[in-house]
Subunit: 142 residues, 2 copies
């Protein structure tokens, strides 16, 4: 069977997925109302995005009377992990550390999040290298 190809979610589509994930399932009018409020989008725009997400397989449309209910077909956390992983893949590996520092600085994290991060870091510290090599240009360090 066809292994579901990598689903690419665009910036605008992310916003729609967020509410779908949060609410579990949504109707287009529901999303439209939320998006008008949060993003200033017209109803038509939301319809387009929902349609594209269904076509991509990120959402499933299940008929419910006259309309449809949309259900997320991909999970939130893995989707986020993958998007983030892709972006970081384009960055110089040597700079990832600093980028994370900057990111943490400008992000709001809960006590629990911080504790979890500290735990992973402590674990990682056990056998982390002294230096990470730059891989921007084969055979060069920046």
């Amino acid at each position: 069977m066809e292994a579901q190809t990598k689903i690419e979610i665009s910036d605008a589509e992310w916003e729609v997925m967020r509410v779908a994930w949060t609410l579990g399932n949504v109707t287009s009018s529901q999303v439209a109302e939320i998006m008008a409020d949060k993003m200033g989008w017209k109803t038509a725009t939301v319809k387009t995005l929902l349609g594209r997400l269904v076509k991509k397989g990120a959402l499933r449309a299940e008929k419910n009377g006259r309309a449809f209910n949309y259900y997320p077909m991909v999970e939130e956390q893995p989707s986020m992990d993958e998007a983030v992983g892709t972006l970081f893949g384009h960055l110089c590996q040597m700079r990832v550390g600093q980028t994370l520092v900057d990111l943490v600085n400008q992000t709001e994290l809960s006590q629990t999040d911080i504790a979890a991060l500290q735990a992973v870091l402590a674990e990682k510290a056990k056998d982390a290298p002294e230096m990470v090599e730059c891989d921007c240009v084969p055979g060069t360090r920046c």
Copy 2:
């Protein structure tokens, strides 16, 4: 004076910028060779990308004899920070913590990077909230 509009760097363009940042300044043939090797791109593709980056103002082309030398006009770290910030802005704030944990897990970090992160986290822990609110749907928590 025109405040330089936000420069958007696409995925393919990132790869070109990386080598420009690493080498300080580059010629198109240099980039072409590296990209043929690293990405399998044709020379023509690299030329297009260099041209687009110059037009966007991410690179500057300075004539050097028959050819040009391309210099980065934007800094690496701020560019990365901004790209990462934009992506995280599309994610549910409640999930950012876990996403960072997953990211750290799949990333190679140096001892120095880890120490820096631990320092920022320790600082942040001092007045981090117990919980971070979900902001996917106004007035709802997931």
